[in-house]
Symmetry: C2
Subunit: 317 residues, 2 copies
C-alpha cells in the first residue's frame, strides 16, 4: 500500500519549500549528437551539480530539517558507502547537529574524504549489509542518534520528488527515466509525475547485474538484491517497503542495461554532452540506447543522479 503521506500533493509542495535554500536548482542540458544516436530528444537533469554532488542532498535536507522543525536536537546517523553519507553530513552541519556515518571500509577514498570534510563522525565496517546494520545499531545505541535511512523514510522520498517538480516547472516531457537502487529517487520521481505532470510516463533503469527491481516489477513480488555485481555502485540495494508499492502503481516499466552498455553510455555523456556522470547515472541513457524503439521521437528526461565518479579510475581505461 502506498504511504498515505504520499497521496497529499501539499506534502510535496511543503518539502520543496522546506529545502529550497539548502539545495541547487540544477540545470537541464541537451546534446544534439546524443539525440541523433538515441532517436529521441533527451533532456539531462543534472543532479551531478546538486550540493554534495548528487540528488541525495534533496532527501537529506528534507529529512534533517523536518526533524529540526519538530524540535529534534540530537545527532543523525546512517550507513552509506557514498552519496547519502555526504548529503546527510553536509546538511547536518547546516542544521548545527552532528552526523554519525557508518561506511564500508572499501568505500571510495574520495567519498570517505568528502564525508569527513563535511564534519561527520565516520565509523568503518566490513562491506556487508549485515555489518553495516549491526555497526549502525551499535553507534545509535551508544550515541542516541536518530537514523535517517537512505530510502525507507517518507521525508527522504518527498525530498527526492522535488527533482521532478523542478523538471516539470521547466518542461513537459513524455517520459522521465530514473535509475533504481533502493527506489527513493524513483518513487519520488513517479509520485511527483503523478501529482504535477500531465500524463508523464516514468520508467526505471537498472543494471542487469543488479536486477532485483526488474524481477520485482515483473513478478509483482518483492525480490531482494542478492550478490549484485555492477559498476553502478549506487544501485546495489534492494527496494524498500515504502518504495516498492509506489513502483508497482506509478512506474510504467523497468528496463535493463548491461555493464558494457553502462560504460558506453557514461563515456557518451562525458565525451559528447560534457556531463560528468557517475556510473549509476549512466544507466538511464544505457537503457534508452538498448531500447530505442520505446523512446523513438519522444521527449525524454534523464535524471543524472550524481557526479561522484572516481576520476582516477575511469572505466574506459
Amino acid at each position: 500500500m502506498i504511504h498515505p503521506i504520499f497521496t497529499e500533493k501539499q506534502n510535496f509542495v511543503k518539502s520543496a519549500q522546506r529545502i529550497a535554500s539548502y539545495i541547487h536548482k540544477t540545470p537541464i542540458i541537451t546534446c544534439e549528437s546524443i539525440n541523433r544516436l538515441a532517436g529521441c530528444d533527451i533532456y539531462f537533469k543534472c543532479e551531478n551539480f546538486q550540493k554534495a554532488g548528487a540528488f541525495k542532498s534533496r532527501g537529506a535536507s528534507n529529512a534533517v530539517f523536518s526533524l529540526i522543525e519538530n524540535g529534534f536536537k540530537g545527532d543523525v546517523a546512517t550507513h552509506s558507502s557514498g552519496n547519502h553519507a555526504q548529503a546527510i553530513s553536509r546538511v547536518a552541519r547546516f542544521a548545527g547537529i552532528g552526523a554519525r556515518v557508518v561506511m564500508p571500509e572499501n568505500s571510495l577514498m574520495s567519498k570517505i574524504e568528502a564525508t569527513k570534510e563535511y564534519g561527520a563522525d565516520v565509523t568503518f565496517c566490513v562491506p556487508t549489509l549485515e555489518a553495516r546494520e549491526s555497526t549502525l545499531a551499535n553507534v545509535i545505541e551508544q550515541t542516541g542518534a536518530r537514523e535517517i535511512h537512505p530510502y525507507n523514510n517518507v521525508d527522504i522520498v518527498l525530498g527526492q520528488a522535488t527533482c521532478t517538480m523542478e523538471i516539470l516547472d521547466e518542461i513537459q516531457p513524455d517520459t522521465i527515466v530514473a535509475p533504481v537502487g533502493g527506489g527513493g529517487l524513483l518513487a519520488g520521481t513517479a509520485l511527483a509525475a503523478s501529482h504535477f505532470g500531465q500524463s508523464v510516463q516514468v520508467i526505471a533503469a537498472e543494471p542487469s547485474g543488479a536486477s532485483d527491481a526488474w524481477h520485482s516489477f515483473r513478478t509483482m513480488q518483492f525480490v531482494p538484491s542478492e550478490n549484485p555485481k555492477t559498476i553502478a555502485d549506487g544501485l546495489l540495494t534492494s527496494l524498500g517497503l515504502l518504495t516498492f508499492p509506489v513502483m508497482l502503481r506509478h512506474v510504467s516499466d523497468v528496463l535493463l542495461a548491461d555493464e558494457n552498455q553502462i560504460v558506453e553510455a557514461m563515456r557518451l555523456m562525458w565525451q559528447r554532452a560534457k556531463i560528468l556522470a557517475e556510473p549509476s547515472s549512466a544507466v538511464p541513457l544505457a537503457a534508452i540506447l538498448a531500447n530505442r524503439a520505446i523512446f523513438a521521437g519522444r521527449k525524454v528526461v534523464v535524471i543524472v543522479s550524481g557526479g561522484n565518479a572516481d576520476i582516477d579510475n575511469l572505466p574506459w581505461k
Copy 2:
C-alpha cells in the same frame, strides 16, 4: 585603436539576436568547496555545455549568419586544431553552406572526428603556423571559400561577447576572469562588460608557458607568441590586431598560472564542481588560486571556455 564597430552597443545586441536560436544559453554553476579554497564566490559560466562544446559556437554562428544575411552563398574556410573548427563546421551545416577546415595532423583524434562528423571538408597539414596559413591559402584559392579567422574578425568578437551579456543578465559580478589565447573571448568579454556591466572588472588568465598576452599587457607593445609550451592547447596563439587594443583599454590585469597549477585547477573543477573543463578552461581558476589576495571576498565569474578534453588521457594520470 579599438575598431569602431565595437563602440556601438547596438552591434552587440544585434549579434545576440542573430545567434539566439543557434546557441545554448549556458548554465552558471557554483561549488561550495572551491569557494572555501579560493576565499571568494566563484560563478562558473559553463561554455563547456555550449553547442559543439565551446564558446566558439557563439562567434562562429555570428560570423556565418552575418555573411548569409549579406547574401553570401559560398563556402567558409578556416584553420584550427580544435574548437573553432568544430564550431564553424556545425554552423555552416545549419546555414546550408560548405566548411573547409585545415587542421594540423597532430590534432586530437576526437576533434578531427567531430569536425568531420559536422560535415566539414578537412585538409591536414604539418603543425606549424606557416603550414596552416599556406595550406589554407591553397584551399581558398582552389575553392573560393571565405576565410573566417578565429579572432581577427569583428563578427567573431561580437559573437563571443554574447557570453558575458548572458552572465550580466543573470548576476552582477565584481570581476570576470577569461582565458586569453588569440583574445577573441577576452575582447568580447571586456567589451560586453564595458557596455552592459556596472563597474565590472575583467581579468585575463594565461599559462606561464604561453605568456605573450602578459608580456604585451605589461609592455603595452604587441609581443607575439613564440614556442609556447602548455597543456592549455586553446591558448597557444598570439593576440590579434583587433583584440590587442581592446585588452589594453578594457582589461584590468593579466595573471599567469603554471602547468602544475593548471592541472590542479582542472582536477578541482572535475572532482569538486563536476565541471568537465578542458585544460584551457582551467587557467582562470588556476590564476585565481595563485592570486587569492586579489580576489578575496569578491564575486567572481570564471568563463569555462570549453569541455573538449581528451578523456582517455587525463593529465593527472
